[in-house]
């Protein structure tokens, strides 16, 4: 075996010469770097020192939020913020000392605030205090020369002129955290940028946020601006017009004052919410600061949970409200007609247990409309006795329970519609028929949110057309949901019972308003068994109350408004929730219904 090499000496000789030339060029280049870096170093050093510009973001004001009559719910006011330019600090410890005196801020706190931004470039100003009072501003202005490292700026700050009104649906802003900035690289959030953290402010954050401007200024080596180089003005965000009627919203909030609960008012035809109340509320203006630990904690830890939006996140037993769905199911399954009756003696014994009616004396013989009017439990026990839990679950889901209504604010809860499969999965047990009896009057594991009940009521008012609720006026999204496949007469038969409930001395009569054909249904949720309730009442001398529900719509024909009220621990639905709903119907009538259209006027 022999190795045969080609004669490559000419090529190799040439390439070696090239390498020598390359080496020489390397040396020449290094020599020119030597000239610039070492020989002319002083000259360039001075140029670098003199040559410092700073880019500052110009915050764009967020878009306004307006109610349906253009009342301002959220706008912007100028606010002073104080920043520190770390690069310009001579003596870190001295600066911290002086600043903590000047700003009346603990040194620890101050250090913490500066630390938050430690991974940002030294030349980026760090916000150390915002929402400065005028006295503080003048104090700092007077010492400008002493503290070249401080930078006082005006920025637009979110303002909610009505304070705690509609706070849950508007939401609030907070500084984007470092984690959020990392998680959303496409949003290009700046450190310290205030972004929507809940409600509409979060849902429509991109829409409301304007386009940031930019100021480029020349600064000297101590960070003091010498000249402005360029300025791009910010572009304000777009305004959002809500479907909310702030008068109704205020009225509803007033009616829940001092209580915990929720109210939803919506237009059944469009799904537009006129009011969405959760009580107690909070003042979102208090969050519009980068540093609010104490106040924030006091609100977060409040036992009344003011931050929780009960209207979409509160999960409650529907109680007797659920009888509406039972009635629809019974009619559709052909188990009852509007004329079939059951006899109520105050209690019913089924599967070896006694199931009692809320009216211990008994309602006597009741047809469907009367059973709804009086909210007779025994009637619906009898109906539930003939039905399978999965059939009931099917109708509940068909009406929109157990799933989000997709209202356009984040955080909505699903609620819970139990079925035999659900029980097997979560508890590993079969469904017992006795539980079906409880579910048939809206007790048991069944859970709903107030917005779901409002939507069920809207579907009922629309005689089967479901809508997706929205907080935006003239929302062009897909709002009209599907048609619920039930005959129109089925709805009419249930509505008759709801009409009687309010207008014919039923449980909902507290909601009655002259001239408005209101249809409604009350509900009270058993929190604990009657025995335990009596025991507690005996020991503590007070009454353990149930949650109080009312949902209804008006007028009976061509309905214009749906009102759903939930009052936690409000007692019977007829006692608390129904009169509150009545007040809302009245407010609505006074504002929207022209006198000549009021019936009997």
């Amino acid at each position: 075996m022999s190795r045969i090499y080609e004669d490559l000496t000419v090529l190799i000789k040439r390439s070696k010469i090239i390498l020598y030339i390359l080496g020489a060029i390397f040396l020449l280049v290094l020599a020119s770097y030597w000239k610039i870096q070492v020989l002319d170093h002083q000259k360039y050093w001075k140029m670098a020192e003199a040559n410092r510009t700073r880019e500052l973001p110009l915050v764009a004001p967020r878009g306004l939020i307006l109610d349906r009559q253009q009342v301002i719910l959220a706008d912007n006011i100028p606010s002073f913020k104080l920043s520190l330019v770390p690069e310009a600090i001579d003596n870190y410890e001295k600066t911290i000392d002086n600043l903590s005196l000047l700003l009346e801020l603990g040194e620890e706190e101050l250090r913490k605030r500066i630390e938050r931004y430690k991974f940002v470039s030294l030349y980026q100003p760090v916000v150390i205090k915002d929402n400065l009072k005028l006295e503080e501003v003048s104090l700092i202005e007077a010492r400008k020369e002493e503290f070249p490292e401080l930078k006082l700026e005006v920025e637009p700050k979110r303002n909610y002129p009505l304070g705690s009104t509609a706070a849950h649906l508007l939401g609030y802003l907070q500084e984007a955290s470092a984690d959020e900035i990392k998680a959303n690289p496409d949003k290009q959030w700046r450190l310290g940028e205030m972004v929507g953290k809940s409600g509409l402010e979060k849902q429509y954050n991109d829409y409301l946020t304007g386009i940031e401007g930019k100021l480029v200024e020349m600064v000297d080596s101590r960070g003091r601006p010498i000249a402005e180089i360029s300025r791009t003005e910010p572009l304000p965000g777009k305004s959002l017009v809500l479907s909310i009627d702030i008068d109704l919203q205020k009225k509803a909030e007033e009616l829940l004052q001092g209580r915990e609960g929720a109210i939803v008012i919506l237009e059944p035809r469009t799904g537009e919410c006129l009011a969405l109340v959760s009580s107690p509320s909070f003042d979102p203006n208090r969050f519009i600061t980068r540093f609010s630990t104490e106040e924030w904690l006091s609100i977060v830890n409040d036992p009344g949970k003011p931050l929780e939006n009960r209207a979409i996140r509160g999960m409650y037993s529907p109680g007797s409200i659920f009888k509406i769905i039972m009635a629809l199911a019974g009619l559709d399954q052909g188990l009852i007609t509007e004329n079939s009756t059951f006899f109520c003696s105050g209690a019913l014994k089924l599967y070896g247990n006694v199931f009692s009616c809320w009216y211990q004396a008994g309602h006597g013989r009741r047809n469907l409309a009367e059973a709804i009017k009086d909210s007779c439990n025994v009637y619906f026990y009898q109906l539930g006795y003939q039905m399978d839990i999965d059939v009931i679950a099917n109708y509940a889901r068909k009406m929109g329970l157990g799933q989000k209504t997709n209202l356009d604010i984040p955080g909505e809860k699903d609620g819970l519609v139990p079925s035999s499969e659900w029980k097997r999965k979560t508890m590993g047990e079969p469904w017992y028929p006795g539980e079906t009896i409880s579910v048939s009057i809206g007790q048991g594991p069944l859970l709903v949110t107030p917005i779901q009940i409002a939507c069920v009521t809207a579907s009922l008012a629309n005689r089967g057309l479901s809508v997706r609720p929205t907080l935006i006026k003239e929302n062009r999204g897909e709002l009209i949901g599907s048609r619920i496949q039930l005959p129109r007469e089925t709805f009419e038969k249930v509505i008759e019972g709801m009409w009687q409930s309010v207008n014919n001395h039923g449980t909902g009569q507290g909601a009655f308003q002259a001239g408005l054909d209101i249809c409604g249904k009350t509900g009270s949720t058993q929190l604990i068994s009657r025995k335990t309730a009596e025991k507690i009442a005996g020991e503590e001398g007070q009454v353990a109350k149930t949650h109080s529900w009312f949902t209804g719509f008006a007028p009976r024909e061509n309905p214009e408004i749906v009102v759903t009220v939930l009052v936690e621990y409000g007692g019977l639905g007829g006692q608390t929730a129904a009169p509150i709903a009545g007040q809302i119907f009245k407010a609505y009538r006074d504002k929207y219904v022209r006198p000549e259209n009021i019936k009997g006027n």
């Binding site: 075996m1 190799i12 040439r14 390439s15 390359l22 770097y33 360039y44 140029m47």
Partner: protein, 363 residues
Amino acid sequence: MLDRKILKEIDVTTILLMVAISITGIIFVYSAIYYQGSQYVWKQITWLLLCLVVLLISLMIDYKLYLSISLPLYIFMNLLLLGLLIFGKKIANTRSWIVLGPFQVQPSELTKLVVILVLARIFSEYKEDLMSLKAFLLSTLVVALPATLTALQPDLGTALTYLPILVSTYILAGIKKKHLAVILIAMLVIGLVGWNYGLKDYQKQRIETLLTPDQDPRGAGYQLRQSKIAIGSGGLTGKGYRKGTQSQLRFLPARHTDFIMAVMAEEVGFLGLIIVFSLYFLLLYRLFSSAWVSADRAGVYLAFLAAMLIGCQFLINVMMLVGLFPITGIPVPLISYGGSSLLTSFLACSLAINVRMRRFSFI
């Protein structure tokens, strides 16, 4: 099939030098743009790992196989460049990118490798001391076609990096004096016509800037001026990692790509630069020496042209930063941010490593 003996011949020194230079690059890419988040760095690290894998795979195959498919590859790449010109989407004002999922690839970078393969193929059987007219015209055309297509994108910087390949070929294959005269005159004519009709205003300005850099400090001379300030103010030992005012205050343009060496010069000074320059020269030496041990003519061409591709691009870039060359968008091979450039550099080196691995060929 791949022989165990051949596998043992993998040139670990070259690979280590490449990785060391690339990691140095990533360290300074981070310094240049860390305030924009670390995603750039992770992306570049991903590219580096990917390039290593591609490098190892490409070494499994004998370079003679690459040579044998070089012509179809060449036709394909040129069609791709032509297609980009016609159908490409404009990104940053040029039609030079193909978007593949999260990555953008610049075919004009990879084409350079194919051009090298084709040239090596042409000259593999060419035993004359000086090129004939036919060889001269053929080699010129092979380089000029993709270079022109790239220049039309318009990406003049990348197009310009084809020139060293051509010049290196002339030198290695030997150019006749009359051919040299012809090519010089042709370039002069193209230069004049191009200056008057082809070049965009900003491109002309960049060249004028080279002659009178301080005329308009905020205009066309801005980039060169800032780059020189960065380098000069860095001094002997530099301002410290991530402490360069010129880069951190964003005076320097394209800090993580074309001007990355200025960031380095500012932050680690002249002494730091000497280390990087030395690493680079060692790498070049290693690539050249692969050419010297090659078993065949094609191998010499491959290793030599690959070394020249990388070496010239590096030199042009560092000369550009101090005003010894007009400012064009040329990244530093292995160091600048950018996957296509890194991949091209890796594959270029892999050609040389491939040649060295298979230097003992048995017939």
